[in-house]
Amino acid sequence: MKLTLQRYKWTGVLALVLMASLGTLQAKEAVLLAEDPLVEKRLVHISEELRCLVCQNESLASSRAELANDLREEVRKLIRQDKSDTQIKDYLVARYGDFVLYKPEVKPLTWVLWFGPFLLLALGVIGMALYLRQRQSTQTAQVSLSDDDRRKVQTLLKSGDAP
């Protein structure tokens, strides 16, 4: 029992040494990108909501453009300075404008953008309701037949019985 424990201990130590050496190897590879996993996590979170201005349909997180690289580095720097997400976004908006945000802020300038579709939908619903009501009233008006019409229909139906 004691011996097996001893053996486990040694494999444990060996594994630790191996992992540590692997760790340093990896750290050397990506020292610029992943110095601090917490910073990276926040970076990904923030940059997914930011637009790369060079390739405009890509987020800052996914773009490989040179400028996106620089901006990610800039965001990393701000994260390390303990800036909040809003502060970081404001920093970029001050330089590149609202366009840098994938999700534009709700403010008077963007009201049309945010609420326009709902307004159109409401207008459509109102329009349809009005149209339907109007159609219904004209249809009910047409339904009322005169006695003369009724007689005509009766004769037509009867004549239809005997071809």
Partner: protein
């Protein structure tokens, strides 16, 4: 007849939106910097013997800041226009050499030191300006693009007009054309100089 008029009006409205939308340049994004003070910086210039330059050196003057690089293809189209314009002496043009040394220019096994970068950038820029003409009163070297970020640079060339108080009055992303100079930039400069 009236029945068709409403959908037709809708359709024409849609067409107008489409026509306007398709004819706009998606690269032109209104800059939030227009009307704001030009961000401060202090950078080495192309001339190694000259002291560092910053926007505060131009206080009291209306001037133009033009972002350029020798690797920038569109700059080659713009450059003769600026050279011709500079000969008229209507507006001092300061160049901002943006990230002249690109990551792919560096040897694969190591990174350049800032001194090496500056030296290479100066050599390249100087020979390029010698070949194509130099419209700049001086050119600052933004090697890592840090100042570019402060100015919201996202596509070279970019051009700014800055007034006597150091406030950015105009920004152009893309090539400056002779028409743009005549119709927009020069009238603005005259107005700014008069005030």
């Amino acid at each position: 007849m009236k029945k068709f008029l409403i959908p037709l009006a809708f359709f024409i409205g849609l067409l107008v939106f489409l026509a306007v939308g398709l004819n706009r340049n998606p690269q032109e994004i209104p800059s939030p910097l227009v009307g704001k003070p030009a961000p401060e910086f202090s950078l080495q210039t192309l001339d190694a013997s000259a002291p560092p330059f910053g926007p505060q050196n131009m206080k009291g003057k209306v001037w133009m800041l033009n972002v350029w690089a020798t690797w920038c293809v569109a700059c080659r189209e713009e450059h003769p226009v600026l050279v011709a314009f500079s000969k008229a002496n209507q507006l001092p043009i300061v160049g901002l050499s943006y990230k002249e040394v690109q990551p792919q220019d560096e040897p694969s096994n190591r990174k350049f030191t800032p001194e090496e970068k500056l030296k290479l950038a100066r050599e390249r820029s100087e020979s390029w300006l010698k070949r194509h003409g130099n419209p700049y009163v001086l050119s600052v070297m933004d090697l890592d693009g840090r100042v570019g970020i402060d100015y919201g640079v996202y596509g070279v060339p970019e051009t700014y007009v800055i007034d006597k108080e150091g406030v950015i009055r105009y920004k152009r992303v893309g090539v400056v054309t002779p028409e743009l100079l005549q119709t927009t930039i020069l009238p603005l400069v005259q107005k700014l100089n008069a005030s």
